[in-house]
Symmetry: C2
Subunit: 449 residues, 2 copies
Amino acid sequence: MKIAVIGGVAAGTSAAAKARRTDPDAEIVLFEKDNDISYAGCGLPYYISDLIEEREAIVVNTPASFSERYNVDVKTGHEVTTINCDENILFVKDLANDKKIRYEYDKLIVATGASPVVPPIPGIDLNNIFPLRTVSDADQIKEKALEDNIKKVAVIGAGLIGLEMVESFSKLAKDVSVIEMQPHVLPQFSNEMAEIVEKHLQDKGVNLILADGVKEFIGDEKVNKVITQSGQEIEVDLVLLSIGVKPVVDLAEESGIKLGKTGAIAVDSKMQTSVEHIYAAGDCAESKDLLTEKPVWVPLGSTANKQGRVAGENAAGGNYEHLGILKTGITKIFDLTVATTGLNEEEAAENGFEPVSVKIRAHHHAGYYPGVNQLDIKAIFAKKTQRLLGAEIIGEKGVDKRIDVLATAIFSKLTAADLFQIDLAYAPPYSSPKDPVAILGMVAEKKLS
Amino acid sequence: MKIAVIGGVAAGTSAAAKARRTDPDAEIVLFEKDNDISYAGCGLPYYISDLIEEREAIVVNTPASFSERYNVDVKTGHEVTTINCDENILFVKDLANDKKIRYEYDKLIVATGASPVVPPIPGIDLNNIFPLRTVSDADQIKEKALEDNIKKVAVIGAGLIGLEMVESFSKLAKDVSVIEMQPHVLPQFSNEMAEIVEKHLQDKGVNLILADGVKEFIGDEKVNKVITQSGQEIEVDLVLLSIGVKPVVDLAEESGIKLGKTGAIAVDSKMQTSVEHIYAAGDCAESKDLLTEKPVWVPLGSTANKQGRVAGENAAGGNYEHLGILKTGITKIFDLTVATTGLNEEEAAENGFEPVSVKIRAHHHAGYYPGVNQLDIKAIFAKKTQRLLGAEIIGEKGVDKRIDVLATAIFSKLTAADLFQIDLAYAPPYSSPKDPVAILGMVAEKKLS
């Protein structure tokens, strides 16, 4: 059995490792066009802020250590240029010497990931304008950001990664502006919840520019000014582009592997693509939304990891499924934790759920126990079934616990009444006799009745 | 409608408050034989350690504030001596002037709570030997514990509250011994998990005496020595008794209300007792174990609160249920958090589940993110159905999150495979791409297959 994996970050390395565990005798080769594999993409903002000083901490495995640990032939600097799906052949370019390699596979796993959206804005090619995706992107940004003469930073795009980077640059004592085209930060959140984050950013001294896009980057070699569509001029020494990412699917598409409506590679629950023997996993592949049962594309490290594992097992002759996702996301923005799971009100309405929205504010642990904070929870329930459909939570502490309990509740199709009944753990340092989840259930039941 | 409530701590006040919200016009009277109501029993160890300095923080409502807030006639210092179930009459002693009152009710809620077990050990009546149950117990202990000449403390019984008090006394710079009759601390935990806690206690300088009971307390007015059954002599200035509690059921039993096999008051899911119009809630009442569907008695504040709420709503003409419990418990012991939910191996085996035990150790968040710690998780799955039945977790951080996710999973009848599929929130400060819950599911699936 010869298994080829294209791509060596979260999904690719998970797939190769699981394939090895499933079939100790397979020949497994992993092609990665960059020099690094197996790095923690989600850790890059903390590497840049120097909270994590050592590059080695972020790179979980080197090509050599991965190769030795899993008996996988790791070929970095190798770009797969063509997949011949009929004859199960890969054509690969060895970038170091421009040589072409031909590799025959029995099973193939496509894990080509995603790449940053770099819009064709005038001046985009000036120096000191960076996307953030790979460790080498992070290396370049970190090198610059640690320079004293880099004082003013603009972050373009106020999604999860953009706001993580706002915190990173602030920790490095930069003067940070955020420019977001939408009227609010964190587009997946409802406006009222996003406003809590906006206030927090402003309290931390961040210059927040909403409902405005970049018209032009100005500079002489290096960028030194951002001009917005509304005409604001912002002096900058460095720009971070975090407008979003798109799936890397050219290779797959050109080879005849079908893409889904989202633009990412269509897969079934076994991570099989439209072509037999070819699997896809990670940021290049779709997932199924567990609530709407529709294909969605939400590139996150946790999903990439699971999909990679499932693809690797199945490619090696096993039989496993990835059932789908709830689009659960979480991020730390200065002192706040901000998290979401399931559908928001609009998505729920579009999918015919007749959403009822419930908002509560509750202590994250016993009110009398030192260090108490407030949690703001907004949740969506289906009017007919009273099922929980989605939640957004913002607070300083205890957010990650409640979002995971609610994600588990959505996964389990629990109702508002169920949320009151779950026997959650109570002691003063951790919760209240009525946990915020129970309070949410109580308030929702009342509103739904 | 006249609603009487006997007992004014967690269940009684929850019941009275919910009855008021359900029926704005009812006459509601609450009889409590002590002077305090509505105090946070679970907060007392932190009040004693002076982490919470003010008594007012622990007493959520005074009789006057509760009365005003909920329009409830609060009669403290009033002991109900008889319930005439046939004629719906209470006989109540006003303890201040030894007068008898007669009160006719339409609906009655019994929330008489639990009382500490005080064993007939020679010397038990010496001064400076205290149980801990009420705020006045806590007041007495705190007054003594803040004295400089109280240097050596023995805690008898190493359950959750005993170990919380060990931490409290240590924080007050006392020299603390723990004496436990069982061979391990925390009897609801498996031995291997209890041993982690034992090592931590010893690292913190606690003198741990296991598999040994108290034979005698020695002293002249005040206790000054504990002699154990094995003959050890321990010098002490103060003794805390935390051997356990028993339900306060004499009044109910003598009035003809049926007790269950556990010795607590038998109730249905509406918290109704064997007598129509009489409900029971809180530490005096049984619950149903959601896994075995058998009655159990596990007196905890979170359950008391929920049961009180359900009893109050139903007494006032509503219709609500408390489905049962998973015996979920959590406590902080110095730097560790220790939590459990569901069945342990013995309980699972006794109830015919053919338990398979799975142990994992995993990072509580991304390994490269500063401040990472290990979680030890031991979980029990049913061999045939692969359902999660119970879990114990010990670690410094992130324990409360995982126990609540697993409690939600047990409530929802999830299997090992489901644990891998739940879309839990991932970002480096909160978790790993594979959360410990997902890892547990993966390891369990493999072991079960």
